[in-house]
Amino acid sequence: MSARYGMVIDLDRCTGCGSCMVACAAENNVPALPQATARTGLTPVLVRKVSNGLEGNLRREAFIPIMCMHCEHETPCVHVCPQQAVEVDAATGIVMQMPQRCLGCRYCMTACPYHARYFNWWDPSWPAGMEKTLNPGVASRMRGVVEKCNLCHARFHAAKEKAAAAGRREIDAADYIPACVEACPTGAIRFGNLADQNDPVAQEAHSANAFRLLARIGTEPKVYYKSNEAWVRKMAEPGDQSSSPVRSTEISNHQSEVQHV
């Protein structure tokens, strides 16, 4: 039976600590290159700070972890890729990026409405000796290809191998938990099979205050967000001019991207 892996991120629980970003980068052997900037670095998960636009005691802030949304319907990056380097995996629903096929044209980056794709500008390198700390389950990628969140596919493979060794066809849900989910100290990021109606995450995805970013463009993202704050929910559709003066906080070097969120 095919699964549809996805997430529900409870924004009321996110404190913006950044554990998910660091754990993701460490898991996926993302290099910390000194020449990388906010525009050129790889950040498969990026936590952005937003505010309600008010000042003084009325000001409120929230943190939104942004990663590949694993769009289910008319996935923009899949449509534009001339190399068929991106595909939606039929068995898992994960939008897979195959660096071997990628020629680095970056059409997918332009097409992604969530700015969740990053171009690998440099060969990976680490300070002398630090290569010993690389995760053996994930290869280091060369420059010139596009990177993004693949829901820690190496962990999925490891779970499959474990299931196969035990003579099972289906993986145990406890064996496949992406690094960001494992790292979140408040349990704000939850991961599960959205196709399984009994999965708590699938149920939460359809709860009253759950929403998806840019839902109106119809790409059916598999990353859901949740908040009891109305101003946070309004962030999901920035094109709606009637919404309250909600805006993203100005983050240095990120203005052009943040304004779209």
Binding site: D10, D12, R13, T15, G16, C17, G18, S19, M21, V22, A23, A25, A26, N29, A32, L33, P34, T37, A38, G41, T43, L46, V47, R48, K49, G56, R60, E61, F63, P99, Q100, D123, P124, S125, W126, P127, A128, G129, M130, E131, K132, T133, L134, N135, P136, G137, V138, A139, S140, R141, M142, A183, P185, T186, G187, S227, N228, I251, N253, H254
Partner: protein, 553 residues
């Protein structure tokens, strides 16, 4: 048969067309793309079996439980231990990249004397000379470890032992003065409290054991209109904690004591509390003018904090006026308040005072980098990472993350006693020595840290008190031998003591303390890493989540 030019062209065209329908060009393309991603100069992860070991983090005094993935003898990933009694699987963001710290460009690799390379023998000779010429003051940042006992023993013979306290322990110092119980023996019973009034303490941003309160808040407060746990944050600006609190009270910077005095006056005058105490000298109108908060808002705050007991007040520094509010509320020595978790913890002299008469001062690597001792003596500083400019005469490279065998006593803010061991999971990347080893080389009569750990384990076994917590809970009384106990501790189990007795601490307050007494020190009292893991530096910079912290790679 004659092979014409025409035949050659036909054969060539046919071969080209045929080749396209064979797998050869596609296989070559695939191989070429894979080969081009594996240039010989691109570092590749080590191959080999992966095993998972449990340990405890020693980057700060909180000793969070770690699950470390090891490959080819090196740590390749860090995660939290869900069964840990205090952190319950949560870690601070630095821990997830901490396994890279040992290879940080700012790692101290050699002995440095006034900025130039020196040898361990040079340092030993200089230290021996200093010892022969006068007294030595030993400064420790994490008291209570086996290594601390070595430091203390040396200092008893040669000089003085002092402790550099972190912000959380400093906030408990007024109770030490009023009750006689050492600040190191006190903790917060957060698990049983219902309202926390924080005066600027970064509760959801690394305060205390980082995962402890964030887990509690997530379970009992996050996103709830009527939370089981109310966090009321008093702070001049919208911090991470203020933004997530049940209520954010914005006051002028530096007026925490004035607000505490104003709230105490309302509590006592309106008889909102049963306890009696001295009424603050500060009038409500003075509190209003100093804090910038309306008198009605101060009254409202006082009513709000008593509406959902038990309540606890947490200060971000040593502020007696804020601490006194806990006494007015009856939160000292009560369930959900400030508790005395240990009756055996010792009171240590603080390193705050100037060091006048010593010939040498030696700083353990546990002392925060930003602490500068006030002394003219020769300074020997142990550190794993170079945190920037320092006044130390000697910089001595200490073991880094997971490189040192050590024990982990109770975290400073914990309400219960714990004890864990952190094995040395990886070989030291450079020639390093801990401060305890260095002192042992100067005085061979000192006991080794390992021997002290054995003694402590034997003592735990002898008392039969408490439980061992790993995946399962086992009473110490049911463990067959001290070797079994120690083996389980080395494998990541945590000893948990019996719940603290609130009645063992009593505070008497004769006079209301002065508001906002300033600390005489100019160093930041909050713990800060000397360097950040390179990944954290990169991601904080690229996300704009935090202003620069520590030093970047």
């Amino acid at each position: 048969m004659k092979f014409s030019r025409r035949d050659l062209l036909v054969w060539g065209a046919g071969a080209a067309a045929g080749l396209v329908v064979t797998p050869v060009p596609w296989k070559l393309l695939d191989d070429a793309s894979k080969w081009s991603q594996n240039w010989p100069w691109i570092p590749q992860p080590a191959r080999g079996p992966v095993e998972v070991k449990q340990s405890a983090c020693t980057l700060c005094p909180n000793g969070c439980g770690l699950k470390v993935r090891m490959a080819s003898g090196s740590p390749v990933g860090v995660a939290g231990v869900a069964s840990h009694p205090v952190t319950r699987g949560a870690l601070c963001p630095l821990a997830f990249g901490a396994h890279q710290l040992n290879w940080h460009p700012d790692r101290l690799r050699t002995v440095r004397h006034h900025g130039t390379a020196a040898s361990w023998d040079d340092a030993r000779i200089a230290f021996a000379r200093a010892c022969s010429e006068g007294g030595v003051v030993v400064l420790d940042g994490y008291p209570g470890r086996a290594a601390s006992a070595v430091l203390e023993t040396f200092a008893e013979k040669r000089g003085e032992y002092r402790v550099v306290r972190g912000a959380e322990t400093r906030a408990l110092m007024p109770y030490e003065k009023w009750s006689g119980a050492p600040a190191e023996s006190l903790g917060y019973d957060l698990e049983n409290t219902a309202t926390i009034l924080s005066f600027g303490a970064p509760l959801l941003d690394g305060w205390g054991v980082p995962g402890r309160l964030t887990r509690l808040w997530a379970e009992r407060a996050a996103g709830q209109a009527e939370p089981q746990l109310r966090i009321i944050q008093v702070e001049s600006s919208l911090s991470r904690t203020a933004g997530r609190a049940y209520q954010w009270i914005s006051i002028r910077s530096g007026s925490n004591g004035a607000l505490a005095s104003g709230v105490a006056r309302v509590l006592l005058e309106e008889r909102l509390v049963s306890a009696h105490g001295p009424i603050p000298d500060l009038s409500l109108s003075d509190a209003e003018s100093q804090t910038g908060l309306d008198a009605n808002a101060i009254r409202e705050l006082a009513r709000m904090i008593v509406a959902k007991p038990p309540v606890i007040i947490i200060a971000n520094e040593n502020n007696p006026a804020v601490a006194a509010l806990n006494i007015v509320l009856g939160a000292v020595g009560s369930r959900g308040g400030i508790v005395r978790r240990s009756k055996t913890a010792k009171a240590y002299p603080s390193a705050d005072a100037a060091i006048a008469s010593a010939r040498a001062v030696i700083l353990d690597s546990s002392v925060p980098w930003n602490f500068v001792p006030q002394t003219d003596a020769e300074v020997f500083r142990f550190a794993a990472w170079n945190g920037g400019p320092t006044r130390a005469d000697w910089l001595l490279p200490a073991p880094g993350f997971l490189e040192e065998l050590t024990d982990v006593p109770t975290a400073p803010t914990s309400g219960i006693e714990t004890y864990a061991l952190a094995a040395s999971l990886t070989e030291a990347a450079h020639q390093t020595h801990s401060c305890a080893e260095f002192l042992a080389s100067a005085d061979p009569s000192l006991p080794s840290a390992e021997k002290i750990i054995h003694t402590r384990c034997a003592e735990l076994f002898r008392t039969k008190k408490g439980i061992l917590r790993s995946r399962e809970e086992v009473s110490v009384a049911k463990i067959a031998s001290v070797q079994k106990l120690e083996e389980q501790l080395w494998n990541g189990a945590v000893w948990v003591g019996e719940p603290a007795s609130g009645e063992s601490i009593r505070c008497a307050l004769k006079q209301w303390p002065a508001a906002d007494a300033r600390s005489p020190l100019d160093w930041s009292t909050s713990w800060a890493a000397p360097v950040l893991p390179p990944l954290a530096s990169k991601l904080y910079q690229e996300s704009g989540l935090r202003e620069s912290q520590g030093r970047n790679a």
